[in-house]
Symmetry: C2
Subunit: 211 residues, 2 copies
DNA sequence: TTCCTTGTTGTAAGTTTTTACAATAAGGAA
DNA sequence: TTCCTTATTGTAAAAACTTACAACAAGGAA
Protein backbone atom coordinates (compact mmCIF):
# COMPACT_ATOMS: atom_id res chain seq x y z
CA UNK A 1 0.00 0.00 0.00
CA UNK A 2 2.50 2.58 -1.11
CA UNK A 3 -0.17 5.23 -1.67
CA UNK A 4 -1.06 5.15 2.01
CA UNK A 5 2.40 6.06 3.07
CA UNK A 6 1.57 8.97 5.38
CA UNK A 7 3.29 12.29 4.79
CA UNK A 8 5.81 13.17 7.51
CA UNK A 9 4.46 15.63 10.03
CA UNK A 10 7.68 17.61 10.05
CA UNK A 11 11.02 17.70 8.37
CA UNK A 12 14.21 16.99 10.21
CA UNK A 13 16.97 19.43 9.32
CA UNK A 14 20.67 19.47 9.94
CA UNK A 15 21.20 21.54 13.10
CA UNK A 16 23.39 24.13 11.36
CA UNK A 17 20.85 24.70 8.64
CA UNK A 18 17.95 24.95 11.04
CA UNK A 19 19.86 27.33 13.22
CA UNK A 20 20.63 29.57 10.26
CA UNK A 21 17.01 29.37 9.12
CA UNK A 22 15.80 30.50 12.51
CA UNK A 23 18.17 33.44 12.51
CA UNK A 24 17.01 34.43 9.05
CA UNK A 25 13.39 34.17 10.15
CA UNK A 26 14.17 36.43 13.09
CA UNK A 27 15.73 38.97 10.74
CA UNK A 28 12.64 38.87 8.56
CA UNK A 29 10.51 39.57 11.62
CA UNK A 30 12.69 42.51 12.56
CA UNK A 31 12.47 43.90 9.06
CA UNK A 32 8.70 43.71 9.16
CA UNK A 33 7.92 44.98 12.61
CA UNK A 34 11.08 46.11 14.34
CA UNK A 35 11.86 45.03 17.87
CA UNK A 36 8.15 44.77 18.62
CA UNK A 37 8.04 41.82 16.24
CA UNK A 38 10.98 40.07 17.81
CA UNK A 39 8.80 37.54 19.58
CA UNK A 40 9.66 33.87 19.97
CA UNK A 41 6.28 32.66 18.76
CA UNK A 42 6.29 34.92 15.73
CA UNK A 43 9.81 33.94 14.79
CA UNK A 44 8.94 30.26 15.04
CA UNK A 45 5.89 30.79 12.84
CA UNK A 46 7.97 32.73 10.32
CA UNK A 47 10.43 29.84 10.19
CA UNK A 48 7.60 27.33 9.90
CA UNK A 49 8.46 25.44 13.06
CA UNK A 50 6.85 25.14 16.43
CA UNK A 51 7.57 27.48 19.30
CA UNK A 52 9.09 24.65 21.26
CA UNK A 53 12.01 24.34 18.92
CA UNK A 54 13.53 27.68 19.79
CA UNK A 55 14.83 26.89 23.26
CA UNK A 56 16.42 23.82 21.72
CA UNK A 57 18.65 26.02 19.59
CA UNK A 58 19.04 29.18 21.67
CA UNK A 59 19.47 29.41 25.38
CA UNK A 60 17.25 32.48 25.39
CA UNK A 61 16.09 35.51 23.54
CA UNK A 62 19.34 37.31 24.13
CA UNK A 63 21.39 34.59 22.51
CA UNK A 64 19.16 34.69 19.47
CA UNK A 65 19.54 38.44 19.30
CA UNK A 66 23.32 38.14 19.35
CA UNK A 67 23.16 35.66 16.50
CA UNK A 68 20.97 38.04 14.57
CA UNK A 69 23.45 40.81 15.13
CA UNK A 70 26.22 38.59 13.89
CA UNK A 71 24.34 37.49 10.81
CA UNK A 72 22.93 40.89 9.91
CA UNK A 73 25.66 43.37 10.70
CA UNK A 74 28.81 41.65 11.77
CA UNK A 75 29.27 39.42 8.78
CA UNK A 76 28.25 42.19 6.47
CA UNK A 77 30.72 44.74 7.78
CA UNK A 78 33.44 42.13 8.02
CA UNK A 79 33.00 41.34 4.37
CA UNK A 80 33.64 44.96 3.54
CA UNK A 81 36.67 45.07 5.79
CA UNK A 82 37.99 41.96 4.07
CA UNK A 83 37.65 43.61 0.71
CA UNK A 84 39.16 46.84 1.96
CA UNK A 85 42.16 45.10 3.45
CA UNK A 86 42.78 42.82 0.51
CA UNK A 87 46.33 43.79 -0.43
CA UNK A 88 46.21 41.78 -3.62
CA UNK A 89 43.05 43.44 -4.82
CA UNK A 90 43.04 44.28 -8.51
CA UNK A 91 43.03 47.81 -9.86
CA UNK A 92 44.24 51.17 -8.67
CA UNK A 93 43.38 52.39 -5.19
CA UNK A 94 40.84 54.73 -6.77
CA UNK A 95 39.17 51.84 -8.54
CA UNK A 96 39.10 49.84 -5.31
CA UNK A 97 37.56 52.76 -3.50
CA UNK A 98 34.85 52.97 -6.13
CA UNK A 99 34.12 49.29 -5.72
CA UNK A 100 33.69 49.74 -1.98
CA UNK A 101 31.47 52.75 -2.34
CA UNK A 102 29.34 50.86 -4.84
CA UNK A 103 29.04 48.04 -2.34
CA UNK A 104 27.99 50.41 0.42
CA UNK A 105 25.29 52.00 -1.69
CA UNK A 106 24.15 48.79 -3.31
CA UNK A 107 20.42 49.24 -4.01
CA UNK A 108 19.62 45.85 -2.61
CA UNK A 109 21.41 46.72 0.58
CA UNK A 110 19.66 50.06 0.96
CA UNK A 111 16.19 48.58 1.01
CA UNK A 112 14.08 50.25 3.72
CA UNK A 113 13.29 46.79 5.09
CA UNK A 114 16.99 46.34 5.67
CA UNK A 115 17.25 49.58 7.57
CA UNK A 116 14.39 48.53 9.79
CA UNK A 117 16.69 45.74 10.91
CA UNK A 118 19.58 48.15 11.42
CA UNK A 119 17.41 50.54 13.39
CA UNK A 120 16.26 47.76 15.66
CA UNK A 121 19.82 46.57 16.19
CA UNK A 122 21.22 50.05 16.71
CA UNK A 123 18.52 50.65 19.26
CA UNK A 124 19.71 47.53 21.05
CA UNK A 125 23.41 48.19 20.65
CA UNK A 126 23.06 51.59 22.29
CA UNK A 127 21.48 49.97 25.29
CA UNK A 128 23.16 46.57 25.52
CA UNK A 129 26.76 46.76 26.81
CA UNK A 130 27.83 43.46 25.31
CA UNK A 131 26.59 44.25 21.83
CA UNK A 132 27.94 47.77 22.14
CA UNK A 133 31.48 46.65 22.76
CA UNK A 134 31.39 44.16 19.91
CA UNK A 135 29.97 46.73 17.56
CA UNK A 136 32.46 49.43 18.47
CA UNK A 137 35.43 47.21 17.82
CA UNK A 138 33.98 46.12 14.51
CA UNK A 139 33.01 49.55 13.35
CA UNK A 140 36.25 51.26 14.30
CA UNK A 141 38.05 48.58 12.40
CA UNK A 142 35.90 49.20 9.38
CA UNK A 143 36.35 52.96 9.41
CA UNK A 144 40.08 52.54 9.84
CA UNK A 145 40.30 50.36 6.74
CA UNK A 146 38.14 52.74 4.77
CA UNK A 147 40.28 55.67 5.88
CA UNK A 148 43.44 53.81 4.90
CA UNK A 149 42.18 53.31 1.38
CA UNK A 150 41.10 56.93 1.09
CA UNK A 151 44.52 57.97 2.34
CA UNK A 152 46.13 55.80 -0.30
CA UNK A 153 44.17 57.45 -3.07
CA UNK A 154 45.03 60.90 -1.72
CA UNK A 155 48.69 60.01 -1.47
CA UNK A 156 48.84 58.83 -5.06
CA UNK A 157 47.26 62.08 -6.13
CA UNK A 158 49.56 64.20 -4.01
CA UNK A 159 46.70 65.58 -1.97
CA UNK A 160 46.81 66.23 1.73
CA UNK A 161 43.57 65.23 3.38
CA UNK A 162 42.26 64.10 6.72
CA UNK A 163 41.38 60.60 5.63
CA UNK A 164 39.89 59.58 8.96
CA UNK A 165 37.49 62.46 8.91
CA UNK A 166 36.52 61.91 5.29
CA UNK A 167 35.81 58.25 5.92
CA UNK A 168 33.68 59.05 8.92
CA UNK A 169 31.74 61.78 7.16
CA UNK A 170 31.20 59.65 4.09
CA UNK A 171 29.73 56.87 6.15
CA UNK A 172 27.68 59.36 8.14
CA UNK A 173 26.29 60.89 4.98
CA UNK A 174 25.27 57.52 3.62
CA UNK A 175 23.79 56.38 6.93
CA UNK A 176 21.82 59.60 7.18
CA UNK A 177 20.40 59.23 3.68
CA UNK A 178 19.67 55.59 4.44
CA UNK A 179 17.71 56.73 7.44
CA UNK A 180 15.74 59.30 5.47
CA UNK A 181 14.92 56.65 2.94
CA UNK A 182 13.65 54.32 5.61
CA UNK A 183 11.43 56.98 7.10
CA UNK A 184 10.17 58.17 3.75
CA UNK A 185 10.74 55.71 0.97
CA UNK A 186 10.22 58.19 -1.83
CA UNK A 187 12.46 60.84 -0.34
CA UNK A 188 15.74 59.38 -1.57
CA UNK A 189 16.41 57.52 -4.80
CA UNK A 190 19.40 55.37 -5.46
CA UNK A 191 20.82 58.01 -7.79
CA UNK A 192 20.81 60.39 -4.85
CA UNK A 193 23.11 58.08 -2.96
CA UNK A 194 25.52 58.01 -5.89
CA UNK A 195 25.55 61.76 -6.37
CA UNK A 196 25.90 62.48 -2.68
CA UNK A 197 28.63 59.95 -1.90
CA UNK A 198 30.75 60.37 -5.03
CA UNK A 199 30.19 64.12 -4.97
CA UNK A 200 31.46 64.26 -1.44
CA UNK A 201 34.51 62.10 -2.13
CA UNK A 202 35.45 63.93 -5.30
CA UNK A 203 35.41 67.26 -3.52
CA UNK A 204 38.31 65.93 -1.50
CA UNK A 205 40.05 63.52 -3.83
CA UNK A 206 39.27 64.77 -7.32
CA UNK A 207 37.47 62.88 -10.05
CA UNK A 208 36.79 59.21 -9.46
CA UNK A 209 35.84 56.97 -12.33
CA UNK A 210 32.59 55.72 -10.95
CA UNK A 211 31.17 52.90 -13.01
CA UNK B 1 -2.14 70.34 67.67
CA UNK B 2 -0.78 71.84 64.49
CA UNK B 3 2.42 69.79 64.64
CA UNK B 4 0.41 66.59 64.27
CA UNK B 5 -1.02 67.61 60.94
CA UNK B 6 -0.23 64.49 58.95
CA UNK B 7 1.73 64.86 55.74
CA UNK B 8 -0.34 64.17 52.63
CA UNK B 9 0.28 60.74 51.13
CA UNK B 10 0.40 62.17 47.65
CA UNK B 11 0.20 65.44 45.86
CA UNK B 12 -2.65 66.30 43.58
CA UNK B 13 -1.46 67.96 40.39
CA UNK B 14 -3.24 69.86 37.68
CA UNK B 15 -4.05 67.30 34.98
CA UNK B 16 -2.06 69.13 32.30
CA UNK B 17 1.02 69.27 34.47
CA UNK B 18 0.79 65.65 35.52
CA UNK B 19 0.29 64.58 31.95
CA UNK B 20 3.36 66.50 30.85
CA UNK B 21 5.35 65.08 33.76
CA UNK B 22 4.43 61.55 32.78
CA UNK B 23 5.50 62.14 29.20
CA UNK B 24 8.81 63.57 30.36
CA UNK B 25 9.33 60.57 32.62
CA UNK B 26 8.67 58.30 29.66
CA UNK B 27 11.25 60.17 27.62
CA UNK B 28 13.76 59.77 30.41
CA UNK B 29 13.11 56.04 30.43
CA UNK B 30 13.63 55.85 26.70
CA UNK B 31 16.88 57.74 26.96
CA UNK B 32 18.15 55.32 29.57
CA UNK B 33 17.09 52.00 28.17
CA UNK B 34 15.49 52.46 24.77
CA UNK B 35 12.23 50.78 23.91
CA UNK B 36 13.01 47.97 26.32
CA UNK B 37 12.62 50.49 29.15
CA UNK B 38 9.32 51.81 27.89
CA UNK B 39 7.35 49.96 30.55
CA UNK B 40 4.34 51.34 32.34
CA UNK B 41 5.57 50.46 35.78
CA UNK B 42 9.02 51.89 35.19
CA UNK B 43 7.61 55.10 33.78
CA UNK B 44 5.32 55.48 36.77
CA UNK B 45 8.24 54.96 39.14
CA UNK B 46 10.33 57.45 37.20
CA UNK B 47 7.54 60.00 37.53
CA UNK B 48 7.12 59.20 41.21
CA UNK B 49 3.52 58.08 40.95
CA UNK B 50 1.79 54.75 41.20
CA UNK B 51 1.27 52.45 38.25
CA UNK B 52 -2.46 52.88 38.55
CA UNK B 53 -2.31 56.48 37.49
CA UNK B 54 -1.18 55.80 33.95
CA UNK B 55 -4.41 54.37 32.55
CA UNK B 56 -6.14 57.41 34.01
CA UNK B 57 -4.16 59.65 31.69
CA UNK B 58 -3.50 57.47 28.67
CA UNK B 59 -5.86 55.02 27.08
CA UNK B 60 -2.95 52.68 26.50
CA UNK B 61 0.71 52.36 25.78
CA UNK B 62 0.26 53.48 22.23
CA UNK B 63 -1.34 56.74 23.19
CA UNK B 64 1.51 57.46 25.56
CA UNK B 65 3.99 56.72 22.81
CA UNK B 66 2.29 59.17 20.49
CA UNK B 67 2.50 61.83 23.16
CA UNK B 68 6.17 61.08 23.60
CA UNK B 69 6.70 61.45 19.90
CA UNK B 70 4.92 64.77 19.94
CA UNK B 71 6.89 66.06 22.91
CA UNK B 72 10.28 64.78 21.82
CA UNK B 73 10.39 65.22 18.07
CA UNK B 74 7.34 67.05 16.84
CA UNK B 75 7.66 70.11 19.03
CA UNK B 76 11.36 70.19 18.49
CA UNK B 77 11.25 70.11 14.73
CA UNK B 78 8.36 72.53 14.66
CA UNK B 79 10.39 75.01 16.63
CA UNK B 80 13.06 74.87 13.98
CA UNK B 81 10.51 75.28 11.22
CA UNK B 82 9.12 78.29 13.05
CA UNK B 83 12.50 79.90 13.18
CA UNK B 84 13.24 79.01 9.57
CA UNK B 85 9.99 80.50 8.34
CA UNK B 86 10.17 83.64 10.42
CA UNK B 87 10.09 86.32 7.73
CA UNK B 88 10.90 89.08 10.17
CA UNK B 89 13.99 87.33 11.46
CA UNK B 90 16.95 89.59 12.03
CA UNK B 91 20.16 89.40 10.03
CA UNK B 92 21.11 88.34 6.55
CA UNK B 93 19.96 85.00 5.18
CA UNK B 94 23.48 83.70 5.72
CA UNK B 95 23.38 84.72 9.36
CA UNK B 96 20.00 83.07 9.78
CA UNK B 97 21.32 79.90 8.21
CA UNK B 98 24.20 79.88 10.66
CA UNK B 99 21.78 80.27 13.55
CA UNK B 100 19.80 77.29 12.36
CA UNK B 101 22.86 75.14 11.86
CA UNK B 102 24.06 76.06 15.30
CA UNK B 103 20.69 75.02 16.68
CA UNK B 104 20.84 71.67 14.87
CA UNK B 105 24.29 70.90 16.21
CA UNK B 106 23.69 72.29 19.67
CA UNK B 107 25.85 70.19 22.01
CA UNK B 108 23.02 69.77 24.45
CA UNK B 109 20.85 68.44 21.69
CA UNK B 110 23.45 66.00 20.42
CA UNK B 111 23.78 64.18 23.73
CA UNK B 112 23.90 60.42 23.14
CA UNK B 113 21.05 60.04 25.62
CA UNK B 114 18.98 62.16 23.31
CA UNK B 115 19.78 59.99 20.36
CA UNK B 116 18.71 56.95 22.27
CA UNK B 117 15.28 58.53 22.31
CA UNK B 118 15.44 59.30 18.60
CA UNK B 119 16.55 55.78 17.77
CA UNK B 120 13.68 54.32 19.73
CA UNK B 121 11.20 56.64 18.05
CA UNK B 122 12.64 56.15 14.58
CA UNK B 123 12.37 52.43 15.12
CA UNK B 124 8.72 52.91 15.95
CA UNK B 125 7.99 55.40 13.19
CA UNK B 126 9.29 53.00 10.57
CA UNK B 127 6.89 50.39 11.81
CA UNK B 128 3.86 52.36 12.96
CA UNK B 129 1.76 53.73 10.05
CA UNK B 130 0.15 56.47 12.08
CA UNK B 131 3.41 57.85 13.42
CA UNK B 132 4.99 57.44 10.01
CA UNK B 133 2.48 59.65 8.27
CA UNK B 134 2.73 62.32 10.93
CA UNK B 135 6.49 62.26 10.81
CA UNK B 136 6.72 62.43 7.04
CA UNK B 137 4.53 65.50 6.83
CA UNK B 138 6.51 67.18 9.56
CA UNK B 139 9.91 66.30 8.18
CA UNK B 140 9.18 67.23 4.58
CA UNK B 141 7.97 70.54 5.83
CA UNK B 142 11.17 71.03 7.76
CA UNK B 143 13.45 70.16 4.87
CA UNK B 144 11.47 72.43 2.58
CA UNK B 145 12.00 75.37 4.90
CA UNK B 146 15.65 74.59 5.29
CA UNK B 147 16.05 74.30 1.51
CA UNK B 148 14.28 77.62 1.03
CA UNK B 149 16.73 79.38 3.30
CA UNK B 150 19.68 77.76 1.60
CA UNK B 151 18.24 78.79 -1.75
CA UNK B 152 17.94 82.36 -0.50
CA UNK B 153 21.59 82.47 0.51
CA UNK B 154 22.63 81.03 -2.85
CA UNK B 155 20.51 83.54 -4.72
CA UNK B 156 22.02 86.47 -2.88
CA UNK B 157 25.44 85.17 -3.76
CA UNK B 158 24.58 84.56 -7.38
CA UNK B 159 25.24 80.85 -7.08
CA UNK B 160 23.19 78.18 -8.74
CA UNK B 161 22.69 75.21 -6.44
CA UNK B 162 20.26 72.40 -5.84
CA UNK B 163 19.03 73.69 -2.50
CA UNK B 164 16.75 70.73 -1.87
CA UNK B 165 19.57 68.29 -2.25
CA UNK B 166 21.95 70.32 -0.12
CA UNK B 167 19.41 70.56 2.66
CA UNK B 168 18.80 66.84 2.58
CA UNK B 169 22.46 65.94 2.52
CA UNK B 170 23.28 68.38 5.28
CA UNK B 171 20.68 66.85 7.53
CA UNK B 172 21.77 63.35 6.55
CA UNK B 173 25.37 64.16 7.38
CA UNK B 174 24.43 65.49 10.78
CA UNK B 175 22.09 62.58 11.52
CA UNK B 176 24.79 60.12 10.53
CA UNK B 177 27.36 61.73 12.78
CA UNK B 178 24.77 61.86 15.52
CA UNK B 179 24.30 58.14 15.11
CA UNK B 180 28.02 57.42 15.24
CA UNK B 181 28.25 59.46 18.37
CA UNK B 182 25.46 57.52 19.99
CA UNK B 183 27.06 54.19 19.16
CA UNK B 184 30.53 55.32 20.19
CA UNK B 185 30.51 58.37 22.38
CA UNK B 186 34.16 59.19 21.88
CA UNK B 187 34.07 58.79 18.11
CA UNK B 188 32.67 62.25 17.34
CA UNK B 189 33.31 65.51 19.17
CA UNK B 190 31.20 68.59 18.91
CA UNK B 191 33.91 70.30 16.89
CA UNK B 192 33.55 67.52 14.33
CA UNK B 193 29.92 68.44 13.84
CA UNK B 194 30.88 72.05 13.22
CA UNK B 195 33.63 71.25 10.77
CA UNK B 196 31.57 68.72 8.89
CA UNK B 197 28.37 70.74 8.60
CA UNK B 198 29.90 74.14 7.90
CA UNK B 199 32.51 72.59 5.67
CA UNK B 200 29.81 70.92 3.64
CA UNK B 201 27.71 74.07 3.35
CA UNK B 202 30.60 76.30 2.46
CA UNK B 203 31.63 74.03 -0.36
CA UNK B 204 28.34 74.93 -1.97
CA UNK B 205 27.62 78.44 -0.72
CA UNK B 206 31.02 79.92 0.02
CA UNK B 207 32.25 81.25 3.32
CA UNK B 208 29.71 81.52 6.11
CA UNK B 209 30.45 83.59 9.16
CA UNK B 210 29.98 80.90 11.72
CA UNK B 211 29.99 82.29 15.23
C1' DT C 1 13.11 -4.34 8.07
C1' DT C 2 14.15 -2.92 13.00
C1' DC C 3 16.56 -0.05 16.07
C1' DC C 4 18.39 4.15 17.80
C1' DT C 5 19.54 8.89 17.95
C1' DT C 6 17.94 13.28 18.40
C1' DG C 7 15.31 16.91 16.00
C1' DT C 8 10.65 18.32 16.69
C1' DT C 9 6.13 18.98 18.67
C1' DG C 10 2.49 20.31 21.98
C1' DT C 11 1.51 21.82 26.23
C1' DA C 12 1.83 23.85 30.42
C1' DA C 13 4.10 26.30 34.09
C1' DG C 14 6.30 30.55 35.21
C1' DT C 15 7.20 35.31 34.52
C1' DT C 16 6.55 39.85 33.12
C1' DT C 17 3.61 43.52 31.67
C1' DT C 18 -0.73 45.76 30.71
C1' DT C 19 -5.30 47.06 31.83
C1' DA C 20 -9.27 47.66 34.86
C1' DC C 21 -11.53 49.26 38.94
C1' DA C 22 -13.16 50.05 43.60
C1' DA C 23 -11.59 52.56 47.53
C1' DT C 24 -9.20 56.54 49.29
C1' DA C 25 -8.01 61.20 50.24
C1' DA C 26 -6.23 65.91 48.53
C1' DG C 27 -7.59 70.33 48.13
C1' DG C 28 -10.67 73.88 46.55
C1' DA C 29 -15.52 75.65 47.13
C1' DA C 30 -19.17 76.98 49.86
C1' DT D 1 -15.41 73.91 59.13
C1' DT D 2 -17.97 70.55 55.95
C1' DC D 3 -18.80 68.93 51.47
C1' DC D 4 -17.78 67.53 46.91
C1' DT D 5 -15.09 66.56 42.96
C1' DT D 6 -11.76 63.79 41.05
C1' DA D 7 -6.73 62.79 41.14
C1' DT D 8 -4.43 59.07 43.10
C1' DT D 9 -3.55 54.63 45.11
C1' DG D 10 -3.33 49.59 45.68
C1' DT D 11 -4.58 45.45 44.05
C1' DA D 12 -6.04 42.03 41.20
C1' DA D 13 -7.59 40.15 36.87
C1' DA D 14 -6.13 39.52 32.24
C1' DA D 15 -3.08 39.28 28.58
C1' DA D 16 1.27 38.54 26.48
C1' DC D 17 5.43 36.27 26.40
C1' DT D 18 9.30 33.18 27.65
C1' DT D 19 11.08 28.99 29.20
C1' DA D 20 10.95 24.12 30.43
C1' DC D 21 10.04 19.41 29.42
C1' DA D 22 8.01 14.90 28.45
C1' DA D 23 6.46 12.45 24.50
C1' DC D 24 6.70 11.69 19.63
C1' DA D 25 8.60 10.52 15.20
C1' DA D 26 11.90 11.34 11.13
C1' DG D 27 15.38 9.26 8.96
C1' DG D 28 19.92 7.17 8.92
C1' DA D 29 22.46 2.93 10.56
C1' DA D 30 22.80 -1.80 11.03
Amino acid sequence: MQSRKKAPRFRREAPEKRRADLVQAAIRCLSEGGMAAFKMERIAAEAGVSLGLLPHYFKGKNELLSEVYRAALYDDVNRKIGELDDKDAAGTPAARLCRIVDAIIDPDYLRPANLTVWLALWGEIVVNPELRLAHRALYRNYLKSLAALIGLVAEQRRRTVNATEIARSLQALIDGLFLERALDRRAVEHADFRRASYGFLELHLGKLNAA
